[in-house]
Amino acid sequence: MAKLYSNCTPKSQNLQPKDETIKHLLDYSKALSVICYNKLKFEALLN
């Protein structure tokens, strides 16, 4: 029976987000602050 050959599927590739993306998310998380005032919540990005 003939063998079937195909290009690499994406599964075999290293499917991971870039380190910069992870760093950005962690920095964003650290910078994001939620301020509560009278049952209201305000978001503030502190750089």
Binding site: K11, P17, T21, S33, E43
Partner: protein, 194 residues
């Protein structure tokens, strides 16, 4: 304590309580699954990166605002956010997912239609007609060599035998035929394009 031993629900609680490292552990633990899930829908690295980022921005905001209420189901919840953002992406782009030819092999190089469309066929035939009329303007000896070479695909040796001149003379006539054709085209501002 080893972060690998802590389950998602505890990490989420720790994060809400202000322990930023808990988020790093959660992302590290699930990044591959979520990223691969998004990539399997959009087949584009950059778009996947954007949607991955937007997913976690939403996760972070929801957790910090205290709106998260799905204890013990962190990954399915994040997947659902990612799925919704993928749908938003396709809605925004007004199209369904398509095969991106990310690899070396391009399927359209095999499936492509090499035929000219109707407009290009018309232009081509008009250009050919114009060229024929221009050739008629050439001196008889040059016209003869050019027609034999270009339209009858004869070699210069065959042309020289047929016309009874030397190969060099045939070559010279061909050269002058082309020079004169260019002159006529330039003088009359004729545009020959296809």
């Amino acid at each position: 304590m080893n972060n690998n031993l802590i389950n998602d629900a505890v990490l989420v609680k720790n994060y809400i309580d202000g322990h930023e490292h808990a988020l790093a552990t959660l992302i590290q633990r699930h990044k591959q699954k979520i990223y691969a899930f998004i990539y399997s829908k959009v087949y584009d690295r950059d778009i996947t990166e954007d949607i991955f980022q937007d997913t976690f921005v939403k996760v972070i905001r929801t957790l910090k605002l205290g709106r998260y209420n799905e204890e013990g189901k962190f990954l399915p919840w994040v997947m659902r956010i990612a799925h919704n953002l993928v749908i938003d992406h396709f809605r925004k782009n007004n199209r369904m997912p398509k095969f991106d030819n990310a690899g070396d092999f391009n399927i359209f190089s095999v499936l492509g239609d090499g035929n000219l469309n109707a407009e290009k066929r018309m232009i081509k035939s008009q250009v050919e007609e114009d060229v024929k009329r221009l050739i008629e303007e050439l001196p008889e000896d040059q016209k003869q060599v050019l027609l034999m070479r270009m339209y009858q695909d004869m070699s210069f040796k065959e042309i020289s035998e047929r016309t009874g001149v030397s190969i060099n003379t045939a070559l010279g006539r061909m050269r002058y035929a082309l020079i004169n054709l260019r002159k006529i085209i330039e003088q009359n501002n004729i545009i020959l394009t296809n």
